[in-house]
């Protein structure tokens, strides 16, 4: 696997910190694209703002780095205008579910044929470590110096409830599963989401004494549990566990298909 074929080599090394899991996710994306044999010209990688969202600058595709939270809206326009494009959105926990929450749930409802990869590091890393909608209760962040009072979102459950036809979660440690889920998501017709739990040792890790990136990967390895096993555990037993697996893989009519029906009707009525 020659990653260099897909990278904008003159932009490397990338800006992510030592021990940040984002590079692991990027490699997974490239492996899957290589396996699928997609042409670089046919791929549009769209991002919002944050550490996750620096991804497009490093890859040799059609790349679009938009405003905070709005990647999915821009991606919707791209996909409708050129349905032949493989449109992939990379976003973060804050970008996708705080400021971007509305676009996230509506794109899921609409079932538009894009894939959203959410790098969930439980924090706003780029801006220095503020609390995000997925920061677990009681964990520390710069804007939650006494511990986060809020309950977090479960992004995968949110995506499923909003209507996404494929939702899976992996950690950056589980690279083989991550590859498989990303492949399933990219080849699925409809709105597909892969939530990848990633490591931010610089902000989240440091504030919550989780150590280096290597140590945080180890925590992922030791505390992950499958959806099936998690179903038999109590909320207390699930505390601090990472539940990974495929949450939903279902069939629903996809947006372009439905809009073709609209076009047919409109053209008949003429």
């Amino acid at each position: 696997m020659d990653y260099l074929y897909y990278l904008r080599k003159d932009k490397m090394p990338h800006i992510w910190c030592d021990g940040c899991g984002n590079g692991i996710i990027l490699k997974s994306i490239l492996r899957v694209i290589d396996k699928l044999g997609w042409q670089k010209d046919d791929i549009a990688l769209v991002s919002g703002i944050g550490c996750s969202s620096r991804t497009p600058g490093y890859v040799d595709f059609n790349t679009l780095h938009t405003t905070h939270g709005r990647a999915i809206a821009f991606a919707t326009g791209l996909k409708i205008a050129n349905p032949k494009l493989h449109v992939i959105v990379v976003s973060g926990d804050g970008d996708a579910t705080a400021i971007g929450g509305n676009h996230f749930i509506h794109a899921a409802r609409r079932n538009i044929d894009i894939t959203v990869l959410i790098y969930n590091n439980y924090i706003y890393g780029m801006t220095g470590g503020q609390v995000s909608p997925t920061t677990p209760t009681a964990k520390k962040a710069t804007t939650a110096p006494y511990g986060n009072p809020d309950a977090p979102f479960d992004i995968s459950q949110l995506a499923e409830a909003a209507g996404a036809v494929y939702v899976a979660r992996s950690t950056t440690y589980h690279v083989r599963k991550m590859d498989k889920y990303i492949e399933q998501a990219l080849t699925k017709t409809g709105f597909s989401v892969v939530e990848i739990l990633t490591t931010c040792p610089t902000s989240y890790g440091r504030k919550n004494k989780e150590g280096t990136g290597a140590n945080m990967l180890l925590l992922q390895k030791e505390n992950s549990i499958s959806i099936e096993k998690a179903a038999n555990l109590s909320p207390e037993e699930l505390h601090d566990k990472f539940v990974v697996g495929v949450f939903v893989d279902r069939e629903q009519p996809e947006y372009a298909q439905l809009y073709r029906g609209v076009k047919d009707k409109a053209q008949q009525d003429k």
Binding site: D2, D18, I24
Partner: protein
Amino acid sequence: MKKNAQVIINEDWCKSCEICVQFCPRKVFEMGKFYPRIVNIEKCTACKLCELLCPDFAITVIKPGEENTTEKP
């Protein structure tokens, strides 16, 4: 004689996170002052876990007998 796997480290891109050192199941690496050092190449089974987990594209693993088909960065 058994051929060894090749493990190529790109020190220009390595950020010294030590993930490869800590996760290698065969303890092929030892951490140097800034970069990992290969100390047990004969133990390497080319499982590629280091390559998979390296966030910085800084390790390439070539199976014994295979060609290095990657471009030079």
